[in-house]
């Protein structure tokens, strides 16, 4: 019999590469995605090592160095009360990255269970939950975040909550859609036939199979959350002065565009680079996870 060794060989080939390994291999070939990942990691390291790598105290003012253009002593220049812009960019990365991480975690923690319940149960519960989600989606993302932040009170923590809540409906919708696709697969029917509880089917059989699209959405949502945090800080609803955040730095810089353009250049460039990198990585991840490609 020649069929048996062949089948065994096929199984061996399949075993040799798990789906996540295939995804990683695909991802490693995408240069733009890898460049994006490298920049994101750079900012994360910068944020963690801020006390070590920052050339100055980000809050230290100096009346002899007010609005000085970039120089050897201050590579990014100084701001309107003589604080070093580079130091504030480095420390400000903490607010942006925290917003990306915390907001998206909140949105996942709230949105995924709603989507799982809605998609799995269907019927009246599904209808009600989805109308609630529609209602949240009817309010433009940033306007909802602004409204929540105003009523909660201005602080970085409240801004992150506001952004997280505003992003919840996206994850609920996505999760529900994925559950509806997976729900009728044979292996779910099999799990049910064997007598698994609903609880177990949802958490052990459905959830692991819908992680990839959630992962892609989380990356792109982190990019959106970072822009949203910068926007709220720009409007005075995020990190409060004198603590540095890229958005609030731009808010001040706006008033000194003609006298000190470097104040506006660096924080915006930092937001742009970080968001672009997350978007590049998210796009690459989506392509790498798509079995139809490569």
């Amino acid at each position: 019999m020649t069929a048996e060794p062949l089948a065994a060989a096929l199984i061996a080939v399949e075993r040799a590469e798990a789906p996540w390994q295939r995804t990683l291999r695909q991802l490693a070939h995408r240069r733009l995605a890898m460049a994006g990942l490298a920049v994101v990691l750079f900012f994360i390291v910068l944020a963690i090592l801020a006390p070590l790598v920052s050339p100055y105290d980000p809050l230290a003012t100096s009346w002899s160095a007010v609005r000085k253009p970039p120089s050897f002593a201050h590579p990014f220049g100084t701001d309107e009360i003589g604080r070093d812009v580079l130091a504030r960019i480095i420390w400000g990365s903490r607010a942006s990255l925290a917003a990306g991480l915390v907001s998206v975690s909140l949105a996942l923690a709230a949105g995924v269970p709603i989507g799982l319940i809605s998609g799995y149960l269907g019927g009246f519960v599904d209808g009600m939950l989805m109308r609630m989600i529609d209602a949240m989606l009817a309010i433009p993302f940033l306007i909802l975040a602004i409204a929540l932040a105003v009523f909660l009170g201005p602080s970085l923590a409240n801004a992150m909550i506001a952004i997280g809540v505003s992003q919840t409906p996206i994850f609920a919708r996505l999760t529900r859609g994925q559950v509806l696709v997976v729900k009728h697969e044979d292996y779910i029917e099999a799990a049910r036939a064997v007598g698994n509880s609903h609880h177990r089917i949802v958490l052990r059989h459905i959830l692991p199979n819908i992680v990839p699209p959630l992962l892609v959405q989380a990356t792109l949502a982190a990019a959106a959350a970072i822009i949203a945090e910068a926007s709220l800080s720009f409007l005075g609803l995020g990190e409060q002065p004198p603590d540095p955040s890229w958005g609030s730095m731009l808010n001040t810089a706006k008033n000194f565009v003609s006298q000190a353009p470097w104040m506006a250049l660096w924080p915006g460039l930092a937001i742009f680079l970080l968001v672009l990198s997350l978007n590049l990585f998210g796009d690459g991840l989506r392509d790498a996870l798509d079995p139809r490609r490569g």
């Binding site: 109308r131 529609d134 009817a138 309010i139 009523f151 909660l152 409007l235 937001i271 742009f272």
Partner: protein, 313 residues
Amino acid sequence: MIAFLQRRIALIIPTLFFVSVLIFGLQQLLPGDPALAMAGEERDPAVIAFLREKYHLDRPLPERYVLWVKGIAHGDLGESIRIKRPVKDLILEKLPVTGELAGLAMVVALAIGVPAGILAAVKHDTAIDYGATMAALWGLSIPNFWLGILLILLFSVTLGWLPASGFVTPAESLKQNLLTLIMPAFVLGNAIAAVMMRHTRSAMLQVLDSDYVRTARAKGLSEWSVILRHALRNALIPVVTLGALEFGALLSGAVLTEQVFSIPGFGKLIVDAVFNRDYAVVQGVVLCTALAYIFLNLFADIAYALLNPRLRA
């Protein structure tokens, strides 16, 4: 078609209910006594008493909700604590300004996004395609308030070609009005142009692959006639309805754009209300945007059904 309309309109009712609960609920997020918080820093006892009366703060929550909804049904959106004027009047006053800005931004988005999307699809996998795709990613990643500041720096401060801020109504001077709106409209439109480009590109790629396009080519029509007269028509259907969905992004963007360019519109209204903790104005603006969004999407869905007979069943 009638059945589709009935189903679609019936879906709106629970959505409207939850939107109203959500916006009413915002008030409950205020720490402590809402009347005290809404009265501002002066805490004028007369104002506090007025607010208690106005929002029926001594009544139970469900009753307050019903009274609030009744007020809105009669066009009463509350009163601005700071400016001491009805919120409805403030919104109606600012609406045309933002309407013009949003309209111009949409023109910018369509004028850049659709041709770029067509070109990228037709020149699939060439340098033009990659260039357009990268440009779209730029547009999606650049914070629009930063782009606004950079444009002011270049065109107002350095070159002196365009005014950095201020707004002139078209009635006063149409030329001046358009000059002040060029930069804001570009800033607001560029992110939507990026979304439009991506959608036009993928819709065109699908259509260009279809049988009827091959037939049109086989008939010996010129390539551009195939692309513009046959393919684009079908590819544009999803793109047109996308316009309604992007309305939310347009209003979100307008908040920041109007702030950067000091344009006295809807966005400036909510930002000023934010700075002044003028909660009734914030609620009113949120309510109006939500209503506009819900009904625009209804119209978009109906338009989509009209354009695409397969969806009517």
